[in-house]
Symmetry: none
Subunit: 197 residues, 4 copies
DNA sequence: GATGAATGAGCCTTCATTCAT
DNA sequence: GATGAATGAAGGCTCATTCAT
């Protein structure tokens, strides 16, 4: 009986994950707008109706996928985060994590970029995502207080700190950019120059 | 007869422009994916069939609209460009032009952001657009040669110079950002710190 | 063991009745066509699959519900029926019973009206229902033989005797009709005038 | 050029009529709920999309069909109507018209019966239909004033005058009824007995 | 007996595009 | 050049029903 239960639970999660994976893969292949529910279903090896067991509707499927990725990205960004380290080191570490995450999960990153520029984007409860980045915000505030980084609104700091990375890692914007160690180091060094006091 | 011809040509351009304007306006209102050809036609006050007289298909309509906007943005960016000015001043001038263009034409900017993250993006002949930015590239190269700005690939320099501006000006990414003179100055100052040697 | 069985049987009937009640209630709320099996199941607090334990399929569920209501209506119509009473009194009594039943069970009546105009209607074994009305037929025949009511086919007599009541009591046909005692008396008096010799 | 125009107009009406005819025919064959837009389209020999050129949506198609039939029925009912004739004769004439219309257009009648017991029924602007029956109402009022027919609410009079006819002519309710001249005369005679003073 | 999960078929509607006029 | 009408294909979603548990 116990085994039964486990099998059932695992089965469910497997199917739900298969749907999400198919969603991400399909968006990578044919784009956001062309990724219909029935194509996703076919890709995931399930019936279109099955998707509506795990998600309320297409919107819910895409938003859930997005939030899940963003949270995992937040976790990755914060990995090895140590608030006792110098501000510079902590931010550089986060930047490298970001580059690594994007390199290791290009499909996930690509999905979020497409999602962020679609109407679905407005349906996301941003607070839920920002929670994962709270330590980063606190670190920036600490850097400001210690007069290590510029006293600018968070959005400006973040725009200069990490947004260049997003654009560099986006093959649609910079198809020729190579995330070599030298390039990464240089990109992050420039980002630091932008925000440091 | 000559007059007749001119009238006809003017008429044509009026209709073509009406279609493009309707496209941009509709994408702003209901998003990229929901902007169908017939809705655009209705918005422009023409028949759907008429659109296919001026454009090969929907793809051509969107791509043409995008290129036209990008070129006008390139022109705006380069306005008052003076290669004899100091590198710093010239780049800051371009940055301010960029902010001003985006502020004055939010609809156009919004369209390009949506377009850039759609599958249509891959259909654009990038060379055609980059031509408008040639003077900027030359200026950057000059700055590198003069050891004024860092010796980094163009894409890195551009990513730090202008991409933060795009993200800041995009209400979907930074809904609360205000393009006040102080914020603009600060953003551009940070960008300069990023690339200067 | 005997008690156990009785409990089980009672339980069964409770569930079956819950399904039928949910069917009637849902048809009243959202109409016949929109009442799907899964919605009925949710309304009855059971799984969709459970419905298929008590009924062969959707068709069987609806037909069974209809027949059950029609039989109970037949019983109500014949209540206090006394074949020794004058024909007029017996028929008027039946008419008043009919009005009362409809007023007291508007939901059931509404269901039958919708059912009677659906394709499911053809699946009903009419003989089963007419059995409940046998005494009425005999009374009519007696009235004919005694030259009290017109010598017309039963269907004509019934059409004039009770069908006006159905239409008057149907809020979709006569939304403003009030089943006040005066209106009921008048309606039945008119019906009697129609059939009496 | 003139001919062109006529051809175009005729073509349009032919197609629109074909859709309405297919709707009525299909509802007769497979019932109201099962008559989907695509089946109607196939029956009419057009694409499903074409239906949406002539009608806003399925609801509009069904409601328009219903109103058109009801108006034609109203016209038929009032044919040869002469307000100077005796009340009895005028009403009997209308009743015969009604029987004849139903016999000649069983498909149309069947459609309205199904429509009247569907949720779509509530979408009909009843005033539009009642207009066609105005002369009938005036005749009834005249009969009341002249103390020829009973002083009862219109709905009671109509329920007894014409509703029995509807039920008799509905093959689902009275599958065996034959609209022979004798039966018709008898039915109408009974109806008159019901309402006459 | 009872269930939640699963499904292919079908729902209504809109799509990008073409045709006759 | 310009159009309204027309279309097959596909969109997101729900259906009645069955299955393993």
């Amino acid at each position: 009986m116990f085994i039964y239960f486990r099998i059932v639970r695992v089965k469910d999660e497997i199917k739900q994950d298969a749907i999400i994976e198919a969603t991400v893969a399909l968006v990578n292949e044919i784009g956001f707008a062309a990724s219909s529910v029935s194509k996703i279903a076919k890709r995931a090896g399930v019936s279109p109706a099955t998707i509506y067991i795990y998600f309320e509707n297409k919107e819910d499927l895409l938003v859930s996928t997005y939030i899940q990725i963003k949270k995992s990205l937040g976790d990755a960004l914060m990995s090895n985060f140590n608030p006792t380290h110098p501000v510079h080191d902590a931010l550089m570490n986060a930047g490298k994590n970001l580059f690594k995450y994007i390199s290791d999960h290009r499909e996930l990153f690509y999905f979020t970029e497409q999602f962020a520029n679609s109407p679905y984007c407005e349906l996301v409860n941003k607070g839920e995502i920002e929670a994962a980045f709270q330590p980063l915000f606190e670190l920036l505030q600490y850097g400001i207080d210690q007069k290590i980084i510029k006293d600018a609104p968070f959005e400006l700091l973040l725009a200069h700190l990490y947004h260049p990375i997003f654009s560099l890692a986006n093959p649609r914007i910079n198809p020729d950019f190579q995330p070599s160690p030298e390039n990464i180091d240089m990109a992050m060094s420039m980002a630091w120059d932008a925000i440091k006091l």
